[in-house]
Point group: C2
Chain length 313, copies 2
């Protein structure tokens, strides 16, 4: 049988799926990335996932798609990754040589969004933007039914300026969307207010050194009507709306897909606030023909998108 492999190499785990021609899952394998142990170990982990998926002698591998967090150029070289020891690493070339099949490597957010787009089926239109609100804020652009990356790094929507005189971002610039709407920014704002003595259900959760705010805890606090969590999340949603207004004016897309841990947890709460603010910033009439939906595939968007990209080649 002709088969394809979709790989999602993340900062903590590697997920691989074996697909048939029609996108049905045949097999899956998951391993720790072991990013801290260096390049050779990571490559070893990838090879183990691949070996398990390719155990059957009856399959003919047709191609491999890969998603990687970081900056990937058009040839499939990973220029830089924040979480994995890949630097100017010719991942596509190396895998092509090893497995003797076509290989496509892309940025993880782009690849996952491509998977979400393909999953839309009949609702699929040509021009789509994706926004992922997680630890950071990522983006993706699909134009004319193809991933658009410009010179390689397009769709860094987390680093569009929404408030030039506002908060500083981890990237060093002032006023980026990510400085307001990422889970990191939300946690920081909550922590700052807790330090001032404000009352919140989240106090105990965040009192430990190095505690990380989980999206599920945020959801509990929002569901309980916690004042502090509500204030901070409302602000994040408003800034998302401002950015989305700008994006609608710049791209006038058919659809915007929202995903990531924060959206998966409290997207239903945030969306009306987001849309209300976006309406105030989009040019008259433009927003009402833009469709919105949340992602559907969760953690499997990456492997499915990787499969779709290579199968489509």
């Amino acid at each position: 049988m002709e088969v394809y492999i979709g790989l999602d190499i993340g900062g903590t785990k590697i997920l691989g799926l074996l697909y048939d021609q029609s996108g049905n899952e045949l097999k899956r394998e998951k391993k720790k990335t072991k990013a801290a142990e260096g390049l050779e170990v990571v490559i070893g982990q990838v090879s183990k996932v691949m070996s398990t998926l390719l155990e059957s002698n009856e399959d003919t591998l047709m191609g491999i798609g890969v998603g990687v967090p970081g900056l990937v150029d058009a040839s499939g070289t990973v220029l830089f990754s924040p979480n994995i020891p890949f630097e100017n690493f010719e991942l596509a070339k190396i895998m092509k040589e090893k497995y003797q099949v076509p290989v496509v490597v892309g940025n993880d957010v782009n690849v996952a969004m491509y998977g979400e787009w393909r999953h839309l089926g009949s609702k699929r239109t040509e021009n789509i933007l994706g926004l992922f609100i997680g630890t950071g804020v990522g983006g993706a652009i699909i134009l004319d039914g193809k991933l658009y990356v410009g010179q390689g790094s397009a769709s860094e929507f987390g680093h569009m300026v929404v408030n030039s005189e506002g908060a500083y971002c981890g990237c060093g610039a002032q006023g980026c969307l990510e400085a307001y709407a990422s889970k990191t920014a939300i946690q920081k704002s909550i922590q700052n207010q807790l330090n001032k003595g404000r009352i919140s259900l989240l106090r105990d959760l965040l009192s430990e050194d190095g505690a990380v705010l989980k999206s599920s805890s945020l959801k509990k606090a929002i569901d309980a009507g916690d004042d502090l969590a509500t204030d901070v999340v409302n602000r994040a949603a408003r800034y998302l709306g401002i950015a989305i207004g700008s994006l609608v004016n710049a791209f006038h897309p058919d659809r915007i897909i929202l995903g990531g841990g924060v959206i998966e947890a409290i997207g239903d709460y945030m969306l009306p606030i987001i849309l209300n603010e976006a309406e105030q910033h989009a040019m008259p009439g433009l927003l009402k023909t833009v469709a919105f939906n949340f992602t559907h595939l969760g953690d499997e968007a990456g492997v499915y998108g990787a499969y779709c990209l290579i199968q489509n080649q």
Copy 2:
């Protein structure tokens, strides 16, 4: 001889050029638009320009390209124009029927930018953004060598939010680029400071009711080191830089073309300030491979772009 016509229907004048197959100008005609006199009169003016261009019996008209200020859909219907009495006006269809040739109608800024892009010749790359700084701030997107308009109204870069808690824009939203960087915004800021008693070379020019700041006067004031003009223009340039940083993060384009009356007058002064600010907002490394240039064609970009669009079909 096979010929093409490029038309630029502006708020005050209609410019038409007759081109041969290779883009050489054969003839030109200019008439007032007479926009205030209503639709029929404007159409009459367009017809007069066309008649003059088509006087020779030896020419075979192959197609017509048209640029119009306002919102134009994919079929060439002008949905709305701020300066011309076109509303849901099927301009392309009407001209096709009258002249029995293919007709393309586009937004004036998009069409002009397409002309500037074609004019780049060997420096032409695939993904280009244009920003026009005039009375307002307009934009254009060329991706994969084609104008990108999304659902029709993309590239409204003047209405990207740069400072969500900042100045109100004519569009009703808060913090748009246009509220800082357009000539209208520059004049308003200067006027406000003059009203506070600030000294400036521009005082006499702007003291009349309804006086309009000319870009040439702005240039004189900047060249003379006028404090007030310098302050206000520096601020406009910084906000342009912020927006360009965001645009580089969103599109990672090959090139950005700057044009419009303000840039034609004082672009040389503004560019270093724009780039310095853009560098602070673009993700590390992205800006340095983006080329910048000013427009070259001035008032003829529109007709030339219109010719290129139809000749390319």
